[in-house]
């Protein structure tokens, strides 16, 4: 696999060369102004999110999550979901390759924790609803927290059954809960949820959507009142709920949601979902971005979501789930907590370095007056440009201007199904994926693909190999826009 992250691989970079002489103060990373840096949130909140890849854009460069598929039962039907279908090469929510009992799941978590020191979070995201299938969720959390007390627990739910278990959730130290809320309007909800099952009855149409909405708002209020960090997920469905998302963002922020994640509908007839079969389309990247930008000022928006499977393992954007299927687990699993502790120490030092380097780069960038530039980077973690162009299946896109470097989004070139294409097809897909992004930074690239990319109007640069993302992007921006009398080199 191309995107396995080794500790050694992360450490080859020149952290000794960077930033030692640089003054520390002031967060100026891409995370500033949003929920992702320590400077703009309460210390206790930062302590909760700093190692959670789904709650902190910064953390997702360093830390891995795993989902275990122990909760197959669900109490509602969504038109974008079909849990029957499974493809190991497909990545989308609700999909799993094997279902686990709580005992099997705990064994898997311990095995992964011993192999993957980046692991910081265990989440239960179905494939049904973690709060509805609560007995299995709770049994799994009990087993894992006994063996691995340093792993954070989180779950996701549609909110319908969650009020019944909120005190147990809090008692188990589940710090993070994701609620999927797609609309505040029951009329709209009726077009998304054909039925909800509540208190022994199936409710359809507006009646069902009204019950669901009330319980979702109750869940949000109860969790916030108990100090649990809540992320709200919304699936953007053009023509159905898109017009209400800005108001939804405002309301969930007012109620105390920590983060709002607006994700695109994934729709394909082959998935067998109602929306897939009726030809309901997902939003374009531009439509999604327009809504996300319109929401600035509301709840903090999450833009690095990868819409992963309910059994994903690894850093966001990679999935090592197939390495840890049940038949590959050893009979006796043992944990290695020192390895994780050593990794976390290393991340703490590395983060300080990256922050200092970024702050310095930011100050320097401020003097440059130029239009904003989009830059895609190839990274396999650690916040560095450390991936070979040919190994990249996703690109992280940043925008840089004189006010700084900001993470915009990620773009995948493998589009939910890997393999089956020749190299030329792959490159063509990459070029399509990077539409509108004129520059790519990577660790290395061969001459032939570089020439083909250049012919397509995309410059690929490997001069910043192993550098931190933000300082490298900032340096490139300064170089591009330097006054001619300083004799700037063309990158």
């Amino acid at each position: 696999m191309a995107n396995i992250i080794s500790l050694g691989g992360l450490q080859v970079a020149s952290r000794e060369d960077l930033g030692k002489a640089l003054a520390g103060g002031g967060c100026a990373s891409s995370s500033c102004g949003s929920a992702e840096g320590p400077a703009d949130m309460a210390p206790e909140t930062w302590a909760k999110v700093k190692d959670h890849p789904c709650y902190s854009e910064e953390a997702h460069h360093y830390f891995a999550r795993m989902h275990v598929a122990v909760a197959p039962a669900c109490n509602i039907q969504c038109n974008y979901c079909n849990r029957k279908y499974d493809c190991a090469n497909e990545s989308r929510p609700g999909v799993v390759s094997e279902r686990l009992t709580p005992e099997q799941a705990a064994r898997k978590v311990i095995a992964v924790a011993a192999e993957v020191p980046q692991l910081s979070v265990l989440g239960i995201a179905g494939p049904g609803d973690a709060a509805y299938d609560w007995r299995k969720t709770k049994a799994t959390f009990d087993l894992v927290s006994r063996r691995l007390p340093d792993i954070k627990l989180c779950l996701s739910s549609n909110g319908l059954a969650l009020p019944d278990h909120v005190d147990e959730i809090v008692a188990m130290n589940v710090d993070h809960v994701t609620l999927t809320i797609n609309t505040l309007d029951p009329e709209v909800g009726a077009r998304i949820y054909p039925w909800v099952f509540h208190r022994g009855r199936r409710h359809t149409g507006v009646e069902g959507a009204t019950i669901l909405l009330a319980r979702q708002m109750q869940s949000l209020d109860m969790l916030v009142a108990r100090g649990v960090l809540v992320k709200v997920n919304s699936v953007m469905i053009p023509g159905i709920n898109d017009a209400g998302l800005i108001e939804l963002n405002r309301v969930v922020k007012a109620k105390g949601a920590f983060l709002h994640n607006i994700m695109p509908l994934i729709s394909d007839p082959a998935h067998g979902t109602q929306f897939g079969l009726t030809g309901q389309r997902g939003p374009s990247a531009a439509e999604l971005r327009a809504v996300q930008e319109a929401c600035s000022g509301g709840a903090n928006l999450m833009k690095h979501c990868r819409q992963c499977r309910a059994d994903a393992v690894g850093l966001l954007g990679e999935d090592r789930g197939q390495e840890f299927t049940l038949d590959k687990l050893p009979e006796v699993v043992s944990d290695d907590p020192e390895k994780r502790a050593a990794y976390r120490d290393w991340v703490a030092r590395e983060r300080e370095d990256r922050r200092a380097a970024t702050a310095a780069a930011q100050v320097a960038a401020e003097v440059v007056e130029a239009p904003p530039l989009l830059v895609a980077v190839c990274t396999k973690g650690g916040g560095r440009i450390n991936q070979h162009f040919g190994h990249a299946t996703e690109f992280q896109v940043y925008e840089v201007d004189r006010t700084g470097v900001r993470f915009v989004t990620h773009r995948r070139a493998d589009n939910y199904c890997v393999g089956g294409h020749g190299d030329d097809d792959t490159l063509a897909e990459v070029i399509r994926t990077l539409d509108g992004v004129p520059v790519v930074l990577c660790a290395r690239i061969g001459e032939a693909p570089r020439a083909k990319m250049a012919a397509a109007g995309i410059e690929v640069i490997d001069a910043y190999a192993q550098d931190y993302l933000e300082p490298a992007i900032s340096a490139l921006f300064r170089l591009r826009n330097a006054p001619s009398d300083t004799g700037a080199l063309s990158a």
């Binding site: 197959p72 669900c74 039907q77 849990r83 029957k84 199936r202």
Partner: protein, 64 residues
Amino acid sequence: MAYKIKVSQCTVCGACEFECPNGAIKFKNDTYVIDPVKCTECAGQADAPQCAEVCPVPKTCVPA
């Protein structure tokens, strides 16, 4: 008077086992099975059979 589960359509999510007020549904040989002796079709217990109400696949929990 009993319901049955059409094995070919069942997604094995287990929601029916969870909801059955009679404990009539058990996981056997990789699928869920309704014990016809224990099944009452929820008569007197709910407006409609709970397995059929919660089942995500249409026409999968049906009268035997």
